[in-house]
Structures are given as C-alpha cells and as structure tokens.
C-alpha cells in the first residue's frame, strides 16, 4: 500500500541550494538545481574563473576482491590496460579495490552485469553500490587547481595530476576521492567523499574560492559545457 507521493532522491547539498532560491529540475529520480543565476553567467564563470557543480547523482560502485580486475575485464570485455588507466569511469583505488562511476541511473545495469559475472567467475568478489553514500562536488575552471591547493596538499600541477587520474587524499581535513575528468579544455576535479560531510566540504570550497569569484552552477550550464 504505497502513499501518494512518488519517492524523490535529494543530494546532501539540497537544503543549502534550496536556501539560495534555486529553480530545480529532476533527472533520473533526483531533484537537482537547474540554474542558480543565469546559464550564461554560470558558463562564463566556468570558462573564466571556477565553479562548483553538485554531481552527487552520478552512479558509484565499488568492486572489491583480489580478482576484481579479471572480473571487471570479463564484465566490461576491456583489455587490461584500460582498466588501470581509469578510462570510462573505472579507477583502480587499490589492487583489490576498483571504483566505477556511471552517468546518473546507469549504475543499476552496471551493478547487475558485474554481479552476474562475478558469480559466474567463482572468484570471491564483492560488488557494492555506494551512490547514496557519497557526495560528489565537481570543481571546474582554470582556477580549480589553485582553489584546490588551498584545501588539499596534493600537487595539482598537470604533470603531477594529469587528466583521468584518481587520487584518494585528505581535503579540508576529510578523506576524499579526487578524480580529474576535464570538460574539454577546462580542468575539472570531482571531489567524492562521505555524504554527511557534503555541506561542510561545499561551504569550505565556497569560502576558499571567494578570491577567485567561485559560483555554483546548475544542470543546464554543466550540460552546455559538456557539449562544448
């Protein structure tokens, strides 16, 4: 006996974006901000300065096990190289632990495929969906490295942190997974960490980014940037 309201998924940043009087939209069952000010201003800010985007809805899976790599290859019929280079959202966090990120909604299919393959492989591999457990804040723009180097001790110089690499480190005194996935020419870093710290990390990045004129951007501007 279900109630009238169909369930809607909210990101941990929902309450603070709501306070900014933002227009929301829905995508894959998630209520996400469509635009904060205007699409043009948000795109300009991303291209010229630095912006933050709430990408919590991206699907997230963990694949754990000594034989995780072989299961992953069978499941996604990829050759070994790609697995370790972090192509198509697959990142090796440890030789027995892989992090897989998919566009919003596609994690269910990916999890099913991985589960069936790992069962068939008789290898002891655990597939866990952790989308709900993580907040994902994407820092986009030419000033993103400088902003991040105010809150994280990693070297963000392109030579030390090239595109499509994932590093787990301490950011604003919290444990975060940092994945660099540029959008065209724009450097972009996904900050993925436990969702109960989402508001704290967002507020800390906004404060640290004030000198660069950081602003949040919504779904519309982000989609436009990705189209390029």
């Amino acid at each position: 006996m279900s109630t009238s309201k169909t369930p809607i998924k909210l990101t941990p940043l929902h309450s603070i974006t709501q306070r900014l009087g933002v227009t929301f939209t829905e995508e894959q069952g998630w209520r996400i901000p469509e635009v904060y000010t205007t699409e043009e201003d948000e795109i300009t800010a991303a291209r010229e300065r630095v912006v933050l985007a709430d990408e919590t809805p991206n699907g997230k899976l963990l694949l754990e096990g000594d034989h995780a790599e072989s299961v992953l290859m069978d499941a996604l019929d990829l050759d070994p190289l790609q697995v370790n280079e972090g192509r198509d959202g697959i990142y090796c966090l440890r030789n027995d632990l892989f992090f897989i990120t998919t566009p919003p909604g596609r994690e269910v299919r990916a999890q099913k495929k991985l589960t069936t393959v790992s069962a068939a492989s008789e290898q002891f591999v655990t597939v866990t969906e952790v989308t709900h457990g993580r907040a994902e804040i994407r820092v986009i723009g030419p000033a993103s490295q400088e902003l991040l180097s105010k809150v994280c001790g990693l070297d963000f110089h392109p030579a030390a942190f090239p595109n499509e690499t994932a590093k787990q480190s301490s950011l604003a005194k919290t444990t975060q997974l940092i994945i660099r996935r540029d959008i065209g020419e724009l450097p972009a870093f996904s900050i993925i960490g436990t969702q109960s710290l989402g508001v704290y990390v967002w507020d800390t990045l906004i404060e640290a980014g004030r000198e660069f004129g950081v602003v949040p951007i919504g779904r519309a501007a982000l989609a436009e940037l990705i189209k390029g």
Binding site: M1, S2, T3, K5, T6, P7, I8, K9, L10, T11, P12, S15, Q18, W30, T56, L62, E64, G65, F124, T126, T128, V130, T131, H132, G133, R134, E146, S149, K150, V151, C152, G153, L154, D155, H157, A160, A172, K173, T174, T194, Q195, S196, L197, V199, Y200, T204, E207, A208
Partner: protein, 976 residues
C-alpha cells in the same frame, strides 16, 4: 601648481633621488601617540617618523630606557609599536596606511616621560637573575610582588574585542626554493631555472635586490657603477618563466623532508620542495659600548636603507665607527649627499683599509682616526656626541687618550653574522672561521645549499659566481642537468675581512648585549661566574636572545662574551638551537581558514525547521531534543516516536570468512546465527576493555550488516581493517556504508500500526519477530528493517538509502500523525534506555571497563576457543571483577544525583573512602522517580536493595541497588 601642503616641510626628508620606494606625489596622515604626522605611500611608520624628526620610538623591557632605530630591517626590538589592535608591530617594516593609529608600548604615563624608567635607579639591586634571589620571604608576599612585576612587564596589548580577521593558506610544490632575493639568491634562482628546474624565490622585502637596493656594492674589482647589476638581475628574473617570485614573504622554517613554511601578510604557504638554497644574507652585528642603546646609534646598513629607500636622513652630524669597508661605504654615501661626516673612527691600522673611497673622503677633509674605537655615546634621550679613544699596541683602549666628538648620529659598521637559521634547522653544521671572524656553515645535508653573505661571502662578484655554481648544483640534485663535483664551500679569502673580533669596549656605564631583555655585558660575566657557564644555561638564566629579536642582534656577541669569560674558544662555546619561526608569525596566519569538519544527517534541515536543539556528538550535529525531552520519552512509551539515528556506524561484511571473524572480534557466539536474525554484540580489545557495542544482522548467506556507536564508526572500521589486513582477512570484504543508509528508529506501542500503512511486508510477530531483519519496500523505497529495541518498546529501525531520507522520514511522520507520533532526540533516548538499564559505551564504561564488570557477562562466552580479550576476561572471571556496574534507585525518589558524583563510605571519624561513582542518572517520567547506573564494589552490587551513600554537595544521600531493568524487566513490550 604644487600647493603648500604638497611640499613636505619635515626636517629629515632629503630631496628626491633614484631607487626610492616612496611616492612623493601624494601625502597620507597617521598619528603616533595622538600626534598627527605625514608620510608618503611606501614610507614605513619608522621612516615617516624619522623624517619628521622623531627619534624615540619605544622604551626598553626592563629599565624602560629610550630606544630608537637600530637595524631598520625588522630584526631588533627597538621600533616595536602598537598599531590599532595589533601589538608588537615592527615600525621599520610596516608600511604607513592613511588614518593609522600608532602608539608606543609599555610606557607610563607617556613615551617621552616614562616614570617606569625610574627602575634604573635601583639597577644595582636588579642584576641578572635578581628575581631568583629576591622576593623569597615572606612567602605570602610573593603574589603581591608578582602582581607588580607582571604589570611592569609585557609590551603590546591584546584588546578583548579584536575581530578574528581573514586568514588562509596555500600549498605549493616546486623543485627548488630560494630563500632570500638578494644578488646571491637571484643568481642561484636564475642558474637553477636555466637548468630547467621550477624555482620559487622568496624575499621578505617589498622588492627583490636585497642590499643592492640601498648600498653601492663594495667591489674592489669594479668601480661603484657595479650597482647597475640590480636592474639587469631583475630583468633576467622577469623573463625567466621557471621562477615565481614572492615578495613581502618570509620563509619561517624548514621541516622534515624539505617541507617549508612561509608567510605573506594573512596567507601561509606550505611548500613541498626537493631542494632549498638559503640566501638570507647576514645580520649586521652591533658594537657593545657605554650607552650603545641610545637613540641615534644605528647600524650602517640601517642608515643606508633610510637614505636610499625612503630619502630620509636620520642625522646631520655623523660619526662613523667601523672596522670594515662597509663603514667607509656609508661615509662616502653620506658625504656625497652633503652630510657633515664629523669623523671616521677606524679600528684597524691605515694600511689594513682598502676602501676605494678612502682618498676621496680624506681629500674632502673628513677627519680619520686610525686605531681608534668609541667608548661612549653621549646624550640622555638621543645622541649628542661620542667619546672615542686610541687602541694601544696590546689592542686595549687607553683612557688617557679619550676625546669627545660632537654629533647627532653614531653609525657602527663592525661586522656581520650569517643569518643561516634555515640551514641549521635542516641539519647544517657551522664552524667559527677564525680568519673571517664569522660563524659560517661548513656542511649541509643533501639538497640544502647556502650562498652569499649567509655563507660568509660579501664581495658581489664572488656572490654572483658562487650563486651560479650553487643554482646549477641544486638543479642537478633535483634532476636537471649535471654538475661536476661541487667544491666544498669556503669563503673567499682573497677578499678583505668584514667582521672585527672586538665585540665589547669596556666602560663604566651600561653596555647592552641584548636589546630585547636589557642584558648588559656585566650581567653575562655575573651569570657565568654563578655557574650558568654553558651557552644554553646562560641563555635561560639571563634570558638573552629569548625576546622578539630571537638572537639576531645578540647571539654572536653573547658567544664571544661567553667564550671569553670561560676562556674557551668560540667553537667550544657553540651556539643555541635554531628553531622556527625565523621571524615572528601571527596565530591567525598559522590557523588559516577555519576548517573544523562537521557531519550532518540528510534531514538536518528538517530538525532545525522543527525547533530541534542541536548537540555535538563527535563530528556529528544531532537533535538533543525538540523542546521537552520528558514528554518526548512519554510519547514513545504511550504512542510512537521517531528518532534520527543516521550517525550509527554501518559496516557491510561479505564472504565465507565472516562468521569466523565475528567469533574472534565479538565476545559472544556468531557461527550459528541464521539468515534473517540480528544479534547484539560487544567488542573488546585484548586487554578485555569494551571498545564498542552494536547489533549485527545476517542479511543473506554471505552478507552481514554490522552497526557501531556513532563515535565508534571510523575507529571500528579502522580496527577491523587492521585485523583483516594482518592475517584474519581470508574470504572477507569490508565496506563502510555508514552514510549510504540513513536510519530512523520508529519506537512505541503504535509503531507497527504506523509502519503497516507504508509497507506490504507482514509485520506480525510470527512473520517478523523481535531481533530479526527484513528487506521491505517502505513508501515505495527498498529499505532494511531491523526489529531491535534500545528504548524497550516495540520498535523498528528503518534503514533507507540516504537520498530517500527526507521522503521516508516525512512518510513515517505523516503515517503516524493519527497515532500522535512525535520526533524525539538523544536526551529522550537516554531516559528511555536508562529505564531499561541499557549501558552506553563511553558513558557508563571508560577505558578500564571490561564486559564482565559492566553487567554484560551474559554476552561473554568464555567457552569459545579464542576471541579478542579472552585471556584477560578469563583472568577477571577467575579473580572476580573489582567493581560492578549496576542499577540504583534513590531512597528519596525526587533527588537526581548528577552524573560523575562519587559513592563513598564514611569510616569512624568521618573520613570518606571512595567505592564507586554514578555514571548515568535521570528522573524517569514513566516511573516518576530517579533512576541510574553506577559502579560499586561487587559485594555491595550483588545484593538487590543493598543501601549505599552518594556524596551530593558535601552530604551523604542514601540510595539502593536495583538489579533488574526499571521498566518492563521481562521485556514483554519488545515482543508485542
């Protein structure tokens, strides 16, 4: 048309010349002790005040003697002032801002009439360490003495309403850091950058160039125009993309593995580099003679800074006291500006002087006194003259030859000491170079280099040559190009020596070694004679070098005096430890942006919107109550309540090896737990101390779902990761799902009725008994339901994927409205669990409590082969616990004893012995009486109803042991 007030009519401002850093076209105003002064943008507070003829800037710490500019480079204490809310500001490096309110520090009633200077009258009774030998008896008067001492001491003030200010930090990563942007630093940076290394070049001044900005470089090989190097060097730096320049930035310290810290105003830089080149130059060493601290006695480099950078002349009639070419350099500088150089008092023989300006000065009629030295600065608040004497063939002064010279400025240029603290922090070793009379670095660890005056090289051409070599070596060290073996560094002997061995001229008045602490050379002799003869003991006893200058002005002189007094060499005397920061740094810059992690549940906003009073629990913010915890508790007992328990630790364990692991980490049985069942477990460490407790559910064949306390979530996750990765991990995977699921405990007799409205799952006792776990759709969302009861009522813990948290919480609240549901917080939960006598790990137990003593013996299965803590628990079980945790009620049921009160037994004469303490206590709204848990001796705790006394506000109040749960001891309500 320049109006009247554009032309500065101040006595000491020179007409404009090249190289100035001030903007003469505009004027800004500021006040000093209430009097208004003018300045140009670029002026420092000190340069502006000196321009206006102000000489006394502060009063000394102990004797309150007048003090004026000495070093003009931010190293000595003499120009410390208060600027608004900021204490202890170095006036000689702080640029003037319009409307600044500058005030002298630690003076009463005023800077120019400071009555505290009367302390000098008693100076006979205030030798070094006098406070250790006085005020001893009578003991009860010491607080009074101390009160006066405290109020005479201290410099700047902290105003209680000072705002916190904006500070932040930045990490930097590079190949080579060059500390010091003088000619040597720039040269080294250019060489390293040319070899391909990334270089960060730091300089504490507003512009690069170091001493080139204000001195005509002393270079016997090429004529004065060598100073044209500065523009060339700056040009080269600007065009070198591999160099990033940071001016107004001090490198504060070197830490392990080339980790550096630097500060620029309100920003702190934290730098990981592979190599460090120390090019921080040298401090000019003051000479010690009678009244050497008189305003108007200045170092040569200080006068050159004022003249060339700010166009300010600190005196009209000058006496130069020197032992090196720098003194002649300053004389030539001042002479060329039309200043009357009254005399050059040269310590050396005439044939030892090789200054290129000597003949020019002598021809211009400047009197030169060879083999002479100053013995006294004349004047009370400022220099009026100088007394000089001949030096006889034994190097001693001959008082008979004393003569007085009239002057208003005494410039001393007696020598230098390398400013190499950074290299010594990094492990560099130093030696006293007899020939150079300077303590020079002789060895540095890999990746650390010293160049320029910091390594004892004063001649510009030698500095630039060395810098080229060192820069290339540093680049090679980090992997750019190679260099054939770097020749061990030794100062260039061919160039003239710059430092005299004479540091102190005897006299009969006060001669100051340490300006910050007013320590005289006599004090040093006295201290050493009293047994404080090592350089470290001397420092601690006399407090030499423990003030704001941290030894920049006094370390070298102190080592000389200490060696002399002990008749040992300077090398044997040694130096004190170099410690960060090299220059004082504000707490605000060190703290940076406030980053204190705070965790909030997905429905945090709902709680705030419904009047929750939030509390801090570890890193979490949680609702303590929504206004009335007692009625919240009653609501759960009578109807239904809902609490947000999302901070609970939630760990997923998968694999065939899990049951064996649970056997080892919990104290009870887990192997036989069927799928669908939930069991409570206690975790101990090998000392048998309770670490954490919680339930663990067997979800399906190889998947288990464990909960821990909220503050235990991360520690237990790391604890389990350790056991799994150190041998017990075969066939087990562990994933932290703490934030993946939000958890709400729906508790109360109506909870089943509420939940039935939202799920098709059969909730009857038969289908879903107590201590079971079921997956179910709740309000169309797949959830996990755990039928467990911390509150003692029928209850369901609803674990839902976190993004659905608000949807589920609101659905439960809506469904429960007809049954009178209400949210309850941590406080109500504490009342409810206490009524059931459930313990809270961390409140009822501490780091010494084992489960057998903490009333959890039922959860300890000692027949298991092995588990963490078993050997210790076996011993406790055989020896019997020393204390037991047990429930109690008060005889007078309205008295609620505060948590932490002690349980005592009075002996015959009223002395109290402590036998236990109260861990939890509340007034139970359901039972309308005070209840609690406490630790008691076993013999007392084992008798139900046994009386004992709690000490409350000094009197003994009776209580009685109560064994069972206070409410529903048989647990029937849980199984409704």
């Amino acid at each position: 048309m320049r109006t009247e007030h554009d032309i500065l009519i101040t006595p000491n401002r020179l007409h404009p010349k090249g190289g100035e850093v001030i903007d003469r076209t505009t004027t800004i105003r500021f006040t000093f002790d209430g009097v208004e002064y003018t300045a140009h943008p670029g002026d420092t507070v000190a340069s502006a005040l000196t321009a206006a003829g102000v000489q006394v800037l502060s009063r000394s710490f102990k004797y309150h003697r007048p003090r004026g500019l000495l070093c003009c480079s931010g190293h000595c204490p003499n120009c410390l002032v208060q600027i608004g809310d900021e204490p202890n500001v170095r006036a000689c490096t702080r640029p003037v801002e319009a409307g600044m309110e500058v005030r002298a520090q630690n003076v009463w009633p005023s800077l120019n009439r400071d009555l505290l200077s009367l302390t000098q009258l008693g100076s006979r009774f205030m030798p070094v360490g006098f406070y250790y030998k006085t005020f001893i008896r009578p003991q009860k008067l010491w607080p009074l003495y101390e009160h006066t001492l405290r109020h005479i001491a201290g410099l700047g003030e902290v105003h209680i309403d000072t705002p916190l200010g904006e500070f932040d930090k930045q990490y930097l990563h590079t190949d080579v850091v060059v500390a010091g942007g003088g000619p040597a630093g720039i040269g080294a940076a250019l060489a390293a950058a040319e070899a391909g290394a990334q270089v960060l070049l730091f300089d504490e001044n507003p512009t690069l160039g170091g001493h080139l900005r204000f001195t005509v470089p002393m270079d016997s090989s090429s004529p004065p125009e060598a100073s044209k190097n500065l523009p060339e060097l700056l040009e080269a730096v600007n065009h070198q993309p591999n160099i990033t320049v940071f001016t107004d930035t001090s490198v504060l310290g070197w830490y392990q593995d080339h980790w550096l810290c630097a500060v620029k105003g309100t920003r702190l830089f934290k730098i990981r580099t592979k190599s460090v080149i120390v090019a921080t130059g040298a401090y000019e060493v003051p000479l010690i003679f009678d009244n050497n601290d008189l305003p108007g006695v200045m170092l040569g480099s200080a006068v050159q800074r004022l003249v060339h950078l700010f166009g300010v002349l600190p005196g009209k009639q000058v006496v130069i006291v020197t032992a090196n070419e720098d003194g002649w350099d300053v004389a030539a500088d001042l002479q060329s500006l039309g200043v009357n150089v009254g005399a050059i008092v040269e310590e050396r023989e005439s044939n030892a002087c090789s200054s290129p300006y000597r003949d020019g000065l002598i021809n211009a009629g400047v009197p030169v006194f060879y083999r002479h030295i100053i013995v006294e600065a004349l004047g009370s608040n400022a220099v009026r003259g100088a007394k000089i004497t001949r030096i006889d063939e034994h190097g001693e002064i001959s008082p008979k030859t004393t003569q007085s010279l009239h002057c208003d400025l005494i410039v001393t240029s007696m020598g230098w000491t390398p400013a190499t603290e950074l290299a010594y922090m990094a492990g560099g070793k130093s030696e006293y170079n007899e020939e150079r009379a300077e303590i020079i670095p002789v060895s540095t660890p890999p990746g650390i280099y010293v160049v320029g005056r910091a390594s004892g090289t004063h001649a510009l051409d030698s500095q630039i040559a060395e810098a080229q070599q060192i820069g290339t070596a540093a680049a090679a060290f980090v992997g750019f190009g190679e260099v054939d073996g770097l020749t061990a560094h030794s100062p260039d002997i061919s160039k003239p020596r710059r430092t005299s061995e004479r540091v102190c001229v005897p006299g009969n008045k006060k001669r100051f070694v340490c300006y910050c602490e007013d320590v005289t050379d006599e004090d040093v002799q006295t201290a050493i004679a009293e047994g404080y003869d090592s350089i470290e003991l001397l420092k601690r006893y006399s407090t030499i070098s423990m003030g704001p200058c941290q030894g920049a002005m006094c370390s070298m002189n102190t080592i000389h005096l200490c060696a002399h007094a002990n008749s040992s060499t300077i090398q044997e005397t040694g130096t004190t430890t170099a410690r960060p920061p090299t220059t004082p740094v504000t707490l605000g810059a060190l703290a940076g942006q406030n980053m204190e992690p705070v965790q909030t549940t997905p429905i945090h906003q709902w709680h705030l919107d419904h009047g929750a009073d939030m509390m801090v629990a570890g890193f979490w913010l949680r609702p303590n109550h929504y206004g009335d915890p007692a009625s919240e508790a009653m609501g759960v007992r009578e109807r239904a309540g809902l609490i947000d328990v999302s901070p609970l630790g939630k760990l997923q364990l998968t694999g065939p090896g899990v049951p064996e692991l649970l056997e080892r980490i919990y104290t009870n049985q887990w192997k036989n737990l069927p799928v669908g069942r939930v069991r409570y477990g206690v975790m101990c460490n090998d000392e048998g101390v309770v670490l954490n407790d919680g339930v663990c559910a067997h979800l399906n064949d190889e998947t288990w779902y464990m909960t821990t306390t909220s503050t235990g979530a991360t520690p237990i996750f790391e604890w389990l990761q350790w056991w799994l990765q150190s041998g017990w991990g075969e066939g087990i995977h562990l994933t932290d799902l703490t934030d993946a699921y939000s958890a709400f405990n729906l508790a109360g007799p109506q909870s089943r009725a509420v939940l039935e409205k939202l799920t098709d799952r059969n909730l009857t006792n038969k289908a879903f008994p107590y201590m079971r776990v079921r997956s179910a759709k709740v309000a169309d969302v797949p959830c996990r339901l755990l039928r467990i009861g911390f509150t003692g009522e029928l209850s369901y813990e609803v674990h839902c994927p976190s993004a659905y948290a608000l949807h589920i919480w609101e659905a439960l609240m809506d469904a429960g409205r007809e049954f009178g549901i209400a949210p309850f917080g941590v406080e109500a939960q504490r009342i409810l669990r206490l009524e059931k006598a459930h313990i809270i790990v961390g409140q009822d137990t501490d780091a010494m409590s084992d489960p057998l003593s903490a009333n959890m013996a039922w959860a300890v299965k000692l027949d298991k082969p092995d588990f963490l803590g078993k050997p210790s628990l076996m011993r406790i079980s055989t020896e019997g616990p020393k204390q037991l945790l047990v429930g109690f009620k008060m005889v007078d049921s309205d008295v609620v004893p505060d948590e932490g009160l002690q349980i005592v037994e009075p002996d015959a004469d009223g002395r109290l012995t402590i036998t236990g303490w109260v861990t939890s206590s509340r007034f139970s709204p359901t039972l309308a009486e005070a209840i609690g848990l406490c630790w008691l001796p076993p013999e007392l705790a084992s008798q139900d109803g046994a009386p004992f006394t709690i000490r409350i506000d000094g009197n003994l109040v009776e209580a009685r042991v109560h064994h069972d749960a206070f409410y529903d001891p048989d647990g029937e309500r849980l199984r409704m």
